[in-house]
């Protein structure tokens, strides 16, 4: 780790000001950023911890929408979203281990956009809205490839707003070492459409499997998925844990299982 300063503002406004310094960076739960710092892979001059901002920690239902504060931990989402949106609560409950879930935040996960992060698949599948200190961004416009998002320098994810589906499920096939998803699929069924968000698999980061969405919109059944051809293996990540062909195959299996498990 290199030396850095740290601030702990108690409001979003103070945080935005603190982030005005050159080389300043927000710190959420630190579950991604701290290991990066320990390996000396980043050298921020100042960390602006968001954990003391009470206004960024909540799970709130407003009609058909579930709004989650950007500083809300995975553990809190797992508990408090359970009755409103069991698919999302199930996703949160399987991120990392208890220590990770009690520190890591939805805002940090969405901001980081790791190609194997779980939340982005739900955000895409649901057509969530990413709310920042300056604007609202549709999920389809927000995720822009591995580790790339629409966020500007110093912009803070303050809330993620999910339209609550009729039924949903997240299927996570774990990479055996990190236990991040090797392939994760979020299936969300609404009255008028079905969303299928896929993480862990593609060289372009999280994506919507539109063929499956179309097929499932007409017939929300595992059989509807069985007939589809898997996404192109050459677009998929190939590494020591899985070939592109294997990942492409798993997308089909996980989607099918997600449909069967949706509740």
């Amino acid at each position: 780790m290199y030396a850095f300063e740290i601030e702990r503002p108690t409001s979003v406004a103070e945080a935005v000001t603190a982030l005005g310094t050159e080389e300043a960076q927000p710190l959420g739960g630190g579950q991604t950023l701290i290991p990066t710092l320990k390996q000396r892979l980043a050298m921020p001059s100042k960390l602006v911890a968001l954990t003391a901002i009470a206004d960024m920690k909540y799970v709130r239902r407003d009609g058909d929408t579930l709004a989650i504060g950007g500083g809300t931990t995975h553990g809190t989402v797992a508990k408090e979203a359970a009755t409103h949106f069991p698919g999302l609560a199930g996703l949160a409950a399987r991120i990392g281990d208890p220590a990770v879930r009690n520190r890591g935040t939805i805002g940090g996960s969405i901001a980081n956009n790791d190609p194997s992060a779980c939340y982005p698949s739900a955000a895409l599948a649901c057509g969530a809205t990413i709310v920042t200190n300056t604007r609202e961004i549709a999920a389809d416009d927000y995720f822009q490839g591995m580790f790339m998002t629409a966020l500007e320098e110093g912009e803070i994810v303050t809330e993620v707003r999910f339209p609550i589906p009729e039924k949903s499920a997240y299927m996570k096939f774990e990479q055996i070492a990190s236990r991040f998803p090797l392939v994760g699929v979020f299936v969300a069924k609404y009255a008028d459409r079905v969303g299928v968000g896929v993480t862990g698999a593609s060289n372009d980061g999280v994506f919507r499997w539109s063929e499956a969405e179309e097929a499932l919109a007409g017939d929300f059944s595992a059989d509807a998925v069985a007939g589809l051809t898997a996404p192109d293996a050459s677009d998929m990540i190939s590494d020591l844990h899985g070939t592109g062909a294997y990942r492409a195959h798993l997308i089909g299996v996980m989607t099918k299982r997600g449909v069967a498990a949706a509740s």
């Binding site: 290199y2 030396a3 390996q39 000396r40 096939f173 055996i176 070492a177 990190s178 090797l182 020591l240 844990h241 899985g242 070939t243 294997y246 195959h249 798993l250 299996v253």
Partner: protein
């Protein structure tokens, strides 16, 4: 009623109190006043010419005391290798130098190039970033077969080859074996990889070097399984410090698994640097450094052929193995694929003809050396896999095929130079059938199938050689050390006892099980006996702990020393009771005169020895302290049978271990609970090897699995409850306790049954074209195998 103390009792581990309450004293807890900190600059390329190292900028940085490079070590010895192998042609193995810091070339990612010593760790790391190594990249040697086939790129230019040795065993059998295989009714052939593993003890390595100008004394605190061995190797071969001026301390050690046997460059560096700068010098490995500097394990590529007659009797066995040595020869590396592997190729079977060929190869990777089981898991895996394959090819029951070929008469001299003293392989297999509930398998399979899963059953037998080792024998085989063990039993004036042992406990529970033996022999409470270990200053010269040798060899030394104590105490008791020595009996902590009611308590005898007012001073010395060195006359041969049941998800290839049972013959057992724990841990590591762990280099020699994000350790949910039985006991015939050792059995015995079970599951699902899947059987590999 099970015993509640002494030999055979499941006494709770006394050391766990301090480990579990944060009161342990590990090497990183050692902080010496005035210590400086080291950061190593390590090569980030696998192979290159080291043209020079520019340290000027680093030296000018705040807090930097000194920056060392390979040049500083030109007058210093090479990190030595403790075992010399003689090849098929009678030539000694190739033994290249291994400098403490790289000289002329870097040979693996992680090879230390320079070391910065500074006032703080932060300053040392900052300055290490500023050291500039001028390296011209060379192509990397990674694949073993290519390394041998072509000499275009050499890890060590002076050797002219990447082949360390080409070993044949037993060379005289070669032609007979070839002929038997040619003439056999059936030959089963299997090519397989024994995957490279990283031991990953919970505690990373640490070294603290200290130097006292007052008495010219160097002290090294280090994470070691054998401090005396480190003192000898480092003192005599690297730094030229005689033993009386060098103390090595290995305090609490948080797991070793073999990887903390070896003498490492960082230990020599800290000891050397402390003498240079006249200040203590401390290095604590990061987890990332551990992946690229701790010796790795396994990494064999093997072809095995098993010949049978028409009645399925094994007639001959031939194996050819490429064994990775990595870039340098680690301390015991050459012995692992040879004497710890070839001599075990008979397994539990009476195959009359065996030939083992091993080609040890230098590559641009981290050195490979002993890891829990060391050679024996590699032998067991290939043998028990090829037998399973043979059973399928011949359409016979895999257990029946094994039973038919079992060795049943003991002692048994194998065709690979060892003599098994005892064993009963049918007994452990019978026991396994019972504890694994093989009778209920069909029902469990039907239940799995109802859930859409394939269920497979795999069994294997194993034999291992431990209690390492008879010194005269290993001397003939190339060991540059003896492998005895020592113990000093110091009886204090009021009867409490300190046992100074050359064994070292780093998780095995010696502090509990060793006192059980002494307490049993003397008839006193266990808590009156303490074990002292880990410090060359207060323990007799001993070879340490590995090769499941501690109770068999170290325990035997302790028994011998305690026998001497009893003999002397009887003399004292005879004097006190004015009786003949021959009439004195020791029972329940008191000496009595046979046939009388005269007795004297243990404590009174001890007191008499130290306050010799009424004492036979003309016949014996005062005091009650004895030392014994014990050199075993043979290896010990634990054996057993293991059973694994897996479920395979046919859509994803994901394997889960549903049940695991282990029936072991460890001879006599001192503490059944500790033995059970050793088997649990070993099986967890074996399941890890079979399904999860894999150390992977790419073709440029970059380590791809360099953190826990990519290197999969087994976790609690990967391992089922393991059913363990050790009631089949054929006591070892040649050590005083009749013990065989249990530390490695789990890791040796488990991988084949896991893979056998996976293959069985796939066959049950109709994937009969799959005859083998290399470890680790990851979901992707299993799925790919199913695709054909």
């Amino acid at each position: 009623m099970p015993k509640d103390h002494g030999i055979g009792a499941s006494t709770k581990r006394r050391e766990d109190v301090r480990f579990l309450t944060g009161a342990g004293n590990y090497t990183d807890d050692v902080n010496v006043w005035g210590q400086a900190y080291v950061a190593f600059v390590r090569s980030d390329v696998a192979h290159g010419t080291l043209n020079g190292v520019d340290t000027a900028e680093a030296e000018a940085m705040p807090g930097v005391i000194r920056v060392f490079t390979g040049k500083d070590f030109e007058g210093v010895g090479s990190i030595p290798c403790g075992w010399q192998i003689t090849d098929r042609h009678g030539e000694p193995m190739k033994e290249p130098p291994h400098p403490v810091l790289a000289q002329g070339k870097v040979r693996h990612v992680g090879d230390p190039i320079a070391a910065v010593v500074a006032e703080s760790l932060q300053e040392a790391r900052d300055a290490a970033d500023a050291v500039v190594a001028d390296i011209s990249d060379l192509p990397a040697v990674v694949d073993m077969k290519q390394a041998v086939a072509s000499s275009d790129t050499l890890v060590h230019d002076d050797l002219g080859t990447n082949l360390c040795y080409d070993w044949g065993f037993v060379e005289e059998n070669r032609e007979a074996v070839d002929k038997a295989i040619q003439e056999a009714a059936h030959v089963t052939t299997l090519e397989l990889v024994n995957n490279r593993l990283v031991a990953n003890p919970m505690e990373p390595r640490v070294a603290v070097g200290d130097y006292s100008r007052a008495d010219d004394m160097s002290t090294l605190y280090t994470t070691s399984q054998n401090p005396h061995v480190i003192r000898l190797l480092m003192g005599a071969f690297v730094l030229g410090i005689p033993e009386h001026k060098l103390r090595v301390v290995a305090p609490d050690v948080g797991g070793g698994f073999g990887t903390k046997i070896f003498h490492y460059a960082e230990e020599a560096f800290c000891t050397f640097a402390a003498r240079q700068i006249k200040r203590p010098v401390k290095w604590t490995s990061t987890r990332g450094e551990a992946f690229m500097s701790d010796a790795h394990g396994r990494d064999h590529v093997t072809k095995i052929e098993l010949a049978m007659d028409a009645e399925n009797n094994f007639t001959a066995l031939r194996t050819e193995t490429y064994a990775n040595m990595g870039a340098y020869l680690s301390t015991f590396a050459p012995s692992v694929p040879t004497w710890l592997h070839g001599t075990l190729m008979a397994g539990n079977y009476k195959t009359p003809l065996i030939y083992v060929n091993v080609k040890a190869v230098f590559t641009n990777t981290v050195p490979v050396d002993a890891y829990r089981g060391a050679g024996r898991p590699e032998a067991t895996y290939q043998l028990e896999r090829v037998i399973d394959k043979a059973a399928r090819e011949r359409g016979v029951d895999p257990m029946a095929l094994r039973r038919q070929n079992f060795i049943t008469e003991f002692p048994y001299a194998t065709p690979v130079a060892v003599e098994y003293d005892t064993g009963d392989y049918n007994a452990t297999l019978d026991k396994l059938e019972e504890i694994a509930d093989l009778a209920g398998f069909d029902k469990r399979r039907a239940e799995s199938e109802a859930k859409g899963k394939l269920r497979g059953l795999g069994i294997n037998c194993y034999i291992e050689a431990c209690g390492i080792a008879p010194s005269n024998l290993v001397g003939q085989l190339g060991a540059r050390a003896g492998l005895y063990e020592s113990a000093t039993v110091r009886v204090n004036a009021t009867g409490s006892i300190s046992v100074m042992t050359g064994s070292h406990s780093h998780g095995q529970g010696h502090e509990t099980s060793f006192p059980q033996v002494v307490a049993e022999m003397l008839g006193i409470p266990e808590d009156q006996v303490d074990i002292v270990h880990g410090d060359t200053a207060n323990t007799p010269m001993g070879m340490g702990t590995y090769g499941s040798r501690s109770i068999a060899v170290g325990g035997s030394a302790m028994v011998r020393a305690t026998e001497k104590i009893i003999n002397k105490a009887k003399k004292i008791a005879a004097h006190l009771m004015e009786a003949a020595e021959a009439d004195i009996e020791l029972k329940d902590g008191a000496f009595s005169v046979a046939g009388t009611d005269k007795s004297v308590a243990w404590g009174d005898v001890c007191l008499a020895a130290y306050v010799p007012h009424n004492y036979p001073l003309e016949d014996i010395e005062p005091g009650l302290e004895e030392t014994a060195f014990y050199d075993p006359s043979n290896f010990t041969y634990p054996s057993g049978a293991y059973c694994c049941e897996v479920e395979v998800d046919p859509e994803t290839g994901h394997v889960t271990v549903e049940r695991f049972a282990a029936a072991d013959d460890f001879g006599n057992v001192i503490n059944p609970m500790i033995v059970e724990g050793q088997v649990h841990g070993g099986v967890a590591q074996g399941i890890g090897q079979a399904l999860l762990e894999n150390c992977v280099y790419d073709e440029t020699g970059q380590l791809l699995s360099a953190s826990y994000m990519d290197y999969a350790m087994p976790r609690a949910d990967n391992v089922p409850m393991v059913t363990v039985d050790h009631s089949c006991q054929t006591p070892c015939t040649h050590n005083p306790l009749g013990v065989k050792g249990c530390g490695e059995a789990g890791a040796i015995g488990s991988p084949p049954s896991v893979i056998n079970a996976v293959i069985d599951a796939l066959h049950s699902g109709g994937f009969t074209h799959v005859t083998h899947i290399d470890m680790p059987a990851t979901p992707n590999r299993v799925w790919a195998a199913m695709q054909g």
